[in-house]
Amino acid sequence: MSFLFILFVFVSISYSNGISVDAGLTPAEDRWIFRTQFRYLSLSSMAMDHQKIGMYTIPVILAYGLKSNLSLLVRQPVIRRNISIVGASSAESGFGDLFIMGKFKVFRRNHENYTLGLAATLGIEVPTGSDGFSSETWDLQPGLYFSWRRGSLGSDVSMTYTLNGFADKGQNNMNPGNELAFDWAVSYQFGLGERSMTSLAPVIEVSYRDLSPDRLNLRDIENSGGSLLFFSPGMKFTLSSLILEILVQIPVVQNRNGVQIERNATWLFGMRYMF
């Protein structure tokens, strides 16, 4: 049961944001954005059979600006995890659930000295993942993204609420808990070169996650849910249409209900290519 629980937790935590810069600024019409990341996350629990888990996730994302005020995004994660329990270890790979999202520009103001943008999103996660890598539920995710730029300084705020299993139940007839996610990023951009075709931007992100407990037969599951707070320093390097990112998400507060696996730092290497 604890093993099954860990697998389920994997699915729900593996896609937490990172480098959420630019989120409130919708892409140009007819603009393609290819984005991928390499994430490495390790988890451990001394209480649960000395389990140690290493997980790499490679989400592959394709976004397209359908109109100047509407863009569409599709994300397909590829996941590999290594589980070690009391000396014995195993490794598995598979596809995570497909995520489809529409982003709508609510407001954008391009002033000579600053830029403001507000975007609303609606995403749905479809249970298309491989066995053991899928949440097995349809998950709905509305969100709000806000971006602000002034000179070289930028700040982004995003808030999403994921209704896990909004229309069905998950593994073992369980109702997975919903998740509130809040991210705040601040960056400072240094233009490099004569035409500033290259830029380097140190980034600091603060992320908060609040997970409701999972429910079984209308009762909360004791060892589930809780809240997490991350502090994430990173760097964003832009070379014309290519963006390279590196970020480390450090969990600073982990308020977990009951006995749960402990989350260690997540390393994130990412790239975006726009065409």
Binding site: T26, D30, T115, S240, F269, M274
Partner: protein
Amino acid sequence: MEKMKLNIKSNFGLFITIVICIAFLGSCLSQKTKPAFASPKGLETRVYQVLGMDCPGCHGGVEKLINKIPGVFDSKANWKKKQIVVRIQKEGEVSDESIFEAIRRANFTPGKRKN
């Protein structure tokens, strides 16, 4: 633990390989072929103010839309200067309004024409 380290290395290597392949493919696909008859001498150069560009990554979106306008030879945006330089074929009739519209579709705001 050794095995895990090896796995990280091999997966990260695969990730880097995919990234390089995609970047190369993308740059090949985004290459714009120009008509052979258009020589730089026969071009009119216009400079437009563009508000809202905040990084070099913004250039491509607005350049792509402006380059699609019939009569436009090419364009080069500069986020630091908040402007775009548009080269137009002399025989082409390109209105300022069509350039402004392309800037708006890129989610930026057109400012003044500078020349």
